[in-house]
Symmetry: C2
Subunit: 510 residues, 2 copies
């Protein structure tokens, strides 16, 4: 294999299947970014309706290529065809949802303060009209774990296009054939919808990713990936001659808090659903519950025994790539060896010791979570979790207060536990982006109220989400028009409101 070729691997066998692309050199990255910059004005001129049609065209093309996409993605990621078919449905649904967001129009945040006459108390105020406009070309770093929903045609790309920003995707090295197929589908949709040719571009290779973040035409980055990689690129983005916003979704433990009443009432079902949640996608999702807090005593013991029994039934799995497998093994070994840590259960042994891993559940007293450096409070990607027993409510709250930024967390309680629940929710709202009640954190609905984000290390931009309607706002910036004549205003701000946008007028929200 030449170093500059990008090969598609069969993740189950570890064998190279085909060469998909060449790594992009600096000149190629510059060319793709130049094409994206050239496309910006045309994409903006398509307006929200035109871009909604573009997103729908992408969905149609992805569906047309669906069988090939699922086959390639399954081979490259070993996630299984069923899961990937579901992910394709989600990906297309997400594109269509952003089309709905565009047509609804409030994403543009159009606000009009009409001029006021002067009077005794001072001079009049000028006519001021503000709306959100596209930032410019966006670099998208897709994730390894959602080869369709958070990759070439995934949520970042969909929300950036919705915002009116051309996109340059840095293809994830774990699924290049899937990326190529998805990119070809997107390119067909771009042509079909009459969008400018450079609307979506793609580059390949690690160095290309760095060049992309540094390219002066790139005005924002959407990244889903590891803490280490994301942090590095975030600092690179801040160090540019023109620093740019970096929206990285990085790392989360997604703890589950089981209150005493819930443990008493529903130990078996909580344990079973917890293990199902932790092993979804072979534990390789950003909302995997990596920590289960249960009360010390018989109810907690029962819950732990049920969880352990369920884990022993978990099938061995291939992970997404060799690096993730190595990190998983290193992590399990390192955490298992910590003082006070016992192994509660391991999953079914691997058929292929070289390439598969078994699920693993560790067991500790909750006080071990609170040690300096708190290694047990860090994400370990893969089919792995820690079950921790808390002595009393004070210790439970202490763990909640010690949490770093989280994408999500879950609380299980029964109806009599109102007061403790309130206390806990108050603490969790300080560090978590989403709080799930009597449920699990995996499975993030794409809707208007969705938030998928959180303080660092969950993300690098706590004010923003990478899933749901508000994801568009990452790639927009306000522009205010002061005293500009109606005919020269963008349609969104004209008196006649030709796009029928919901707008705020003179302080009153319509």
């Amino acid at each position: 294999m030449a170093m500059s070729e990008v090969y598609s691997m069969d993740q189950r066998t570890g064998l190279a299947v085909e060469s998909v692309a060449e790594e992009s050199g600096a000149r190629e990255v510059a060319r793709v970014c130049g094409a994206a910059a050239d496309a910006a004005a045309g994409l903006d001129r398509m307006g929200p309706g035109g871009r909604a049609a573009l997103l729908e065209a992408v969905a149609v093309e992805l569906e047309a290529a669906g069988a090939a996409l699922v086959e390639a993605a399954d081979r490259e990621t070993a996630l299984g065809a069923d899961r990937l078919r579901g992910e394709l449905v989600r990906t297309c649904g997400q594109l269509r949802f952003f089309a709905e967001v565009l047509r609804e129009g409030s994403y543009a945040d159009a606000v009009i303060d009409r001029a006021t006459a002067g009077g005794d108390t001072g001079p009049g105020l000028p006519d001021m009209r503000r709306m959100l406009r596209p930032l410019g070309p966006v670099a998208v770093f897709g994730s390894s774990n959602f080869p369709l929903a958070f990759s070439v045609a995934g949520g970042d790309t969909a929300s950036a296009l919705a915002a009116g920003c051309p996109v340059v995707v840095k293809a994830h090295p774990s699924h290049p054939a899937t990326s190529r197929l998805a990119f070809d589908a997107v390119a067909r949709a771009v042509a079909a919808a009459g969008a400018p040719a450079g609307t979506v571009g793609i580059v390949w290779g690690f160095e290309a990713g760095r060049s992309l973040v540094l390219d002066p035409r790139i005005k924002a980055v959407g990244f889903t990936g590891s803490l280490v990689g994301g942090r590095r690129l975030h600092q690179l983005a801040a160090s540019r001659p023109e620093p740019i916003p970096f929206h990285g979704e990085l790392s989360s433990l997604n703890p589950v808090f089981v209150l005493p009443g819930a443990a008493r009432d529903r130990a078996a079902s909580i344990a079973r659903d917890f293990v199902r949640s932790l092993s979804f996608g072979h534990g390789q999702v950003c909302t995997k519950p990596g920590l289960l807090l249960v009360p010390a005593g018989t109810d907690g013991d029962e819950l732990r025994a049920e969880a352990a029994a369920a884990v022993t039934e978990v099938a061995p799995s291939w992970l997404l790539n060799d690096g993730i497998r190595a990190a998983f093994r290193e992590g399990v070994e390192r955490l298992s060896a910590l003082p006070g840590v016992r192994t509660a259960a391991v999953g079914r042994p691997a058929d292929d010791d070289e390439r598969q891993v078994a699920a693993c559940l560790l067991h500790v007293a909750a006080k071990e979570l609170l040690r300096p450096e708190a290694p047990l409070m860090e994400e370990c990607f893969g089919p792995f979790a820690v079950i921790a027993e808390y002595r009393d409510v004070a210790e439970l709250i202490e763990v909640a207060e010690a949490l770093e930024g989280q994408l999500s967390c879950a609380v299980h309680a029964d109806e009599g536990e109102q007061e403790l629940s309130g206390l806990l929710l108050d603490r969790l709202a300080r560090s978590c982006g989403r709080i799930v009640w009597n449920g699990f954190t995996t499975g993030v609905t794409v809707g208007w109220a969705t938030h998928h984000g959180g303080p660092y290390p969950a993300t690098t931009s706590p004010g923003h989400t990478s899933v749901g309607a508000s994801a568009v706002s990452r790639f927009l910036r306000p522009v205010c028009y002061q005293s500009v004549p109606d005919a020269l205003l963008p349609p969104q701000l004209r008196n006649a409101n030709p796009l029928s946008l919901p707008r705020r007028m003179d302080g009153v929200r319509a």
Copy 2:
């Protein structure tokens, strides 16, 4: 003067008047940040109504201290009592406006997607409810040029408190006595409104500023100041173990484009208003028009002659501090010496050569603006501007396309120049935060539609504003509650909507 003392200087005489504080050591910064962190939950519990009352109490206390504040600020900044009385009115108006924003309630962006029943096409969706919550303690670096409106009790502090975030102010070294008086007024208001004691803190000195940005309890930074200082602190914020949002408002040229028709119709009035705008606050405002583009030929010549005549009448001025004065002199000298640059006019000579400066207007052909490195396109703080003649419309558009990120710009045109105006506005919307029509950029209204921001170097966060209602959103982050029982939800998200917030429900904006 001991190095650790912070002295108030009389800016007109250069003499130290009094010691106001000691520079804060690392331990003191940590103590103040700790108190801010301790105040966070209580400030949040006050709710929007309680915080609105707090902001109004701050305004009342500032007004009560008004005479002393204006006197100290005038001595420390030499901006003049009239200007500072106006700034005090603005400062108090801004606090009351954020109280109005809190009571109106849509800043919380409350969104509810109720659960849906499952059906043939898939399972039902869970109940999801999202709102914005405070990020946590905010560090505020006030500006030198607005000792009241963008300092201790200025826009950043007001919007952070509105968001529910405690504030630690790093006092600006140019006006410590003003800062002390303003801080005392804020502290009285905090007590009067029953807010937690650590709601607003203050630290002193350059090193304290660095310690503040690095303190783990600080969750965001609001900064108004120089490009060099802001850039350094921005990178410091990104390099923390927990990187945090840094909202810096840094540098802007605020160019004014005069189209041929406007030059023909209104040369004298444009020239006069331009010089009034550029010399407001002795040229030391972030929206100072630093560049005037006029057509080559007789109309442009007339405009330039009128502007030059007006500049010769501008009184000499003290600048805000010795560093700004030195940078002004260096900048004027350096830019005057560039090839193709002529001096169009200088203001009235200084009475005190040592401490005052004269206004200055340079004259170039517009093509000189487009040289590599473009030194004439950078901000030079103080009573200074460049007047540039463009040969033709193509050159005018070329200058517009070459602009870096701007807070604002202005266009002067007559009614017959619709097509050229449209072309120009389209280009300016790509780089400018606010476009003013037939007016000037100084004087930023505080309203719902206000945007005071822009791509770098105007700011480090192009999606946000530091003036107007939306400034609050810099210090908020979303939290989503999934399937949480009504009684455990924050009041903003309960079914009964006890705060009567404008909310989006099932995709429909109310």
